[in-house]
Every structure is written in structure tokens, then in C-alpha cells.
Symmetry: C2
Amino acid sequence: MNNFRMYVPTDIRFGKNRLNELPEVLEPYGKRVLLAYGGGSIKRFGLYDKVVDLLESNGFHIVELTGIEPNPKIDSVREGVKLIREHALDVILAVGGGSVVDAAKVIAGGVYYDGDAWDLVEDSSKMGKAVPIVDILTLAATGTEMNRNAVISNPERNEKLGTSGWELLPKVSFLDPTNTFTVPASQTAAGAADILSHLFEQYFNHTAGVDVQDNIAEGLMKAVIQHAPTAIQTPDDYIARANILWASTLALNGIPGNGRAGGWTCHPIEHELSAYYDITHGIGLAILTPRWMAYCLNHDATTIPKFAKYARNVWHLEGDDEIIAHQAVKATHDFLKSLGIPMTLPEVGITTDELVSDMSAQAVQHGHLTQSAYVALENDDVAEIIRASFEEMTDF
Amino acid sequence: MNNFRMYVPTDIRFGKNRLNELPEVLEPYGKRVLLAYGGGSIKRFGLYDKVVDLLESNGFHIVELTGIEPNPKIDSVREGVKLIREHALDVILAVGGGSVVDAAKVIAGGVYYDGDAWDLVEDSSKMGKAVPIVDILTLAATGTEMNRNAVISNPERNEKLGTSGWELLPKVSFLDPTNTFTVPASQTAAGAADILSHLFEQYFNHTAGVDVQDNIAEGLMKAVIQHAPTAIQTPDDYIARANILWASTLALNGIPGNGRAGGWTCHPIEHELSAYYDITHGIGLAILTPRWMAYCLNHDATTIPKFAKYARNVWHLEGDDEIIAHQAVKATHDFLKSLGIPMTLPEVGITTDELVSDMSAQAVQHGHLTQSAYVALENDDVAEIIRASFEEMTDF
């Protein structure tokens, strides 16, 4: 186990019927609020009205930043920075999924940065002070509600990059499972894939002696695997939604990852798919993950014991290490497919491989995949994984 | 899953060779430090000298509170309050195990309380503002380093009670596994029993739909079961010590318990054993726990499925629920015994049952065992569990 620092002072308010705590939560930061949200869903399902009524009746002044898209764009960030400066706002209230919170984070840092906010995405060392953020999460997926990371896209440059800063941690996150009842099946499935991928990226790692972290990661994987099918079939199943929501937060608040060295693999590759084709992040991850797992097993036999551990502890498979390791890849693939996820790139509209080389090179560079990945990957290796994603997966 | 709030802003500095961070960590709180510690062990093993040298060479003024005992006594708390007031100290640096940190917490609250500090133990609602606490932990057991709870004993009243306060959360906790290398086998075993008991108290609970929390609790149990024997046999095994230390912190920082209703059982009963006989807390828990488990199974058949789940997921037992539930009780008992823990009360010096009725009544009252325990217990039920602890356990 490596040394680590864990400092996560986000105040989590988990559960239903606690929106009335919002005014008291915002009050210490000020009365002038940037209300950041995405499309129309929070209006359609009534959350927008509730929040606005509550804030206005408690004397808050609201300025709105709307239209924050999935794979949130740097233009939304720039607009948010401008609004906060123009209207001298005190605090950001982000209402939505991970995209809205991620945009809020870079807005928060951008207000105190003398330059274009994209600089903060390209170089997190430039991130300093930030406007306080409170969020009301409506989607279980990214874990951004309890960490200091954000991912922003720049369509002009075909770039989707992660940044971070200690000041970006949300002050308070409202996690109400009922706010995720209206998430459609496809997004629920993509969210589950995203959570699982966060856990895989941390779990498949070479640092020895991290059993506490491994056991917790396995426990969170099992909770997602148990509850995601229910959440998809019965969208208003509170227990299923609650477990997935809390698993999504814990998957990326540091606990499964603390004390490990080494970087991620599928996320950097997927960021290129999203950057070039703007596909849903969780779907991209679901498609890539089993191909990457098979790649690891086929190219680096030292990974077999860890995949066998995953097979035993998460999928309850028994037998020879190598055999159950491959069976676990199939189990992972089949589970994701059972959630209704389109498991090939053509199904999400990526029909030619003309950009595979470009995307692979970018992934290797941005993700430092030759140095820090679980199994080191060169451009051609990434291209092999992406190319395998064009066909139905039959060989595990 | 019930609603919960999780707000744990303790800054964890986990790992070796990071004591040099101490001056920078204390600095924001002030230069006048109450150095609180227990007996001679931190002097014997050199930690005391390192801390004092580091603080003095960085211009800190130190006042010492020494002699804080296991089952920390209210007199130590009173003395600490007096020292902080007399010397106008800014911050408490607690160096030691859970007892030292618990004493520091009530001292911290006592400084701002206009009355006897015991009031704050009897009634946590009187706990308000507190002096900031930084700690260097030397024992993996209580989890106090990342929560807002403290347990203090009052020998004059034969009382050992828990209290809590949001302000009592340590600001920074240094968790260096090498500081636990010198913990003797008996204390290492007692610590492991304490950690497991914290997990059992939360896991054996009636709130439905808390799979995330259950899975994490099981994962932490497995880590303790895996690593405690190694830590006892090879005291300087870094990986074993690191896993136990981190498991001890996570076992009681809220994560395994959030979202559940209901109270604890073995802790309130053990607190009476410690209050009357001053035995080692973890040993008392180890003795009581398997008897309590057997009591639950024998008196409330609705507990069988949860014990069977525990049997399957933690002990990898397979078969009929009721059979493996009882086998898991035996596995728990035998594991604790294998750590070298004396598993009967006479072995820890409690040879007569003359106080069993008194202790049982106190446990029921202080622990609210008739209302909130996993299996509700009246005075006679607690007495049955304690009386069973006088004999070697043979019936599981």
C-alpha cells in the first residue's frame, strides 16, 4: 500500500425529502446564486420549479446557466465564468448529472483565473481558488459529487480532458435517489457502466497489499451488478436507485483508489471516442472495457491472477485461474449487454475506422498509456482494442 | 436505506515517513500545543522524541498531558481542560491509541464548556465548540481518528459512556503503519477484535436495502481476518499493519453504518465490563461477541438469513442457512481465539458473577437494548450472555 492523503470534506446529504435543507446550506456562501443545469429534464420533472421557488422565497438572487450538455463543453464553462463575474455571484448551485457538476467545477476555478478557462483543463496546476459549489445530483454515474475532478470537452480541438483542484470539491452534495427515478433505462445502464469502469480502473492495478481497497471495490461492483437490472426494469425502485447512487459516489471519492500507483486505461481511450464522436461516455466505456480486459489477459499473463480474483469474488466463478479469468470477461460483457447497452461502435454511429489511428495516438498521449497503464499500451495496441470494438465480441 | 448525512472533513495522512508534515499541519491552529499521550510506549520507541524535537525546532510551545490510560478516565480529561485554560493553548496533539484521542476530544469540548466535563459525556447535546485536534495514531482499533465520537470512563461511578460532537472530528490524523509495529501481540489482537466488533454492530441490523454498506463491511471484515494473524506473527509486516490500520479507520468513519437505523449491542455490554473491571475493551468484545451471536440465532430465527449471509460472504461457508449461520459463529470464536485472545471472563480476572445483574441493568439502560438492539435484550438476556462468558464456549 502506498502513502496517500484522503481529505474529502464534502457534506453529503443522502436521501429523500430533504430539499428544504437547501437554503440553510447555501446561506453561508451568499445570496447570489448561479443556477447551472443541462437540458429540460429538471424542468420536465418539476425539480427546477421546486428549487427556484425555494430559493426565491428565501431571498436568493438567481442567475441561470442552462444548456450544459453531456460531455460538457468549454463554451458552457466560459459562459458560466462570464455570468458569475458580470453578476457578482457568490455560489454555484449545479442541478443535474456529472456533466453539470463538472462544468460547475471548472467555472468555479475559472472565475479566479486570469485567462481562458481551457488553460485550467489543459494544466490543472493552474487551478487555484474557486467559487463554492453546491449540487443536487440527478444521475448516478461519475462520482464528481464527492471528488475534486472534472472532465471538459473542447470540440474545436477534438479534446476531452480531465483536470482537478482541491478547491473544486463540492461543499454540499444532495443525493436523493428519487431524483434519479426519471433517468431513462439507457442512461441508467450507461451510468452503471461508468461506475463499474471507475472501479475496474482502480482495481486492476499493480500496487501490492491493498486488500482493503480491493475488497471495497469488489463490494461496490457487486452492489451495482445486483441493483442495476432492477433500476432499469423498475425505475422507481428506491432501494435499487439508492444503492447505485451511493455506489457511484463511493466508487470515486478516493476510497477504492487510495494507496495505489498507476493510471487508468479505458477512460483515456473512451475520452477520445467522446471527443471525436460525442458518444455517451458510459456506453463508450461499456464497449471498450471487455475488449481491454481480453487484451490484458491475452498479452500479459501476469494479469491472470487479478482477473481470477475478480472472477471469484465478484462473479462467484470457480476453477482454474486462467479459465475463470476469461469467463469473467465474458460475464462482464454479457452483464453490460443485458442492461441493453449497444456493445459495438457501429451501434453508436461510429461506422468507419478512419479516425482510429488519431484517437489511439491521442489516448496514449493524454492517458500516458505507455507508462502508467495497468498493461502498457502503444498506439497500435490501443488501435487493436478500438478496432475490436467494431465487431460483436465473441472471443473472451 | 435510510437518509443519512456524511460529513467527515478529517484530513488523513496515511503512510510512512511523513511526520515532517506535522509543523505545517499544526501551524494554522497556533503555536501553543497540548501534547497528550499515554504511558511510556511513545517514549520507549522514540516517537515522543521525534515529535518534541520537530515541534521545538519549529518554534512550538509544548505543554504535556501524560498518563492517559486505556479506558481513559474523566480525571485525565479534567486535567487536560485545566492545562489548556491555564496555558492558553491553541491545539491538542494527541499521540497514541484511541484512548488518547478520545480523551483529547472531550478535553477539546470541555475547554468551551462552563461546568464539569463529565456533563459532556453524560449528555452530548451539551457539546459545542471545541479546540482543534491533530493526532498521530499508534494503534489500529477504535476508529476515533476519523469520527466525532469518544468514550470516557468514570471509575467513581462505574460508568463508561460514549459521547460525540461535530466539532470533535480530528482536523488531521497521521496514520503511519510503522507506528503500530511495536504494538504487542495481545493489543494487536484486541484491536482486531474491536474493529470486527464495530463492523458487526453495524452489519447485524434490520434496515433493508443497504447492500453497499453491507458489502463494504464484509470487505473490511475479510481484510482484518486476512491480515491480523500476520500482524501478530510478524509485527513489522508493513502490508498487514497498513491494511488493519486503514480498515480500523474505515470501519467507523460512517461508511459501513450510514443509512441504517438501530443501535449497538456488544459495545454497551462490554462498556459495563470495562467500567466495573477495567478490562481491555477489545478483549471484552471478543469474549462477548460469539455468545451474543449464538444468543441471536437461538432466540430470534429472523436473524438466520443475515448470519448465513455473513457465513457465505466472509467465511466462504456453503450449505443450509441455519447450519452455516451457526458455523459462522464458531468461525468467529475460533478466529478470535487463534489470535491468542483469552476467550472467557475468568481468564481476564472476572471470576465471580456477583456484579452480573448490576452490569446487565446498566448495559440495558445505557445501550437502550430493549428498544434499539439488533435483537432486543432485557436485563436477564444480557445476564445470560455475560454468564455464558464465564465458561469455555462449546455450543455455537
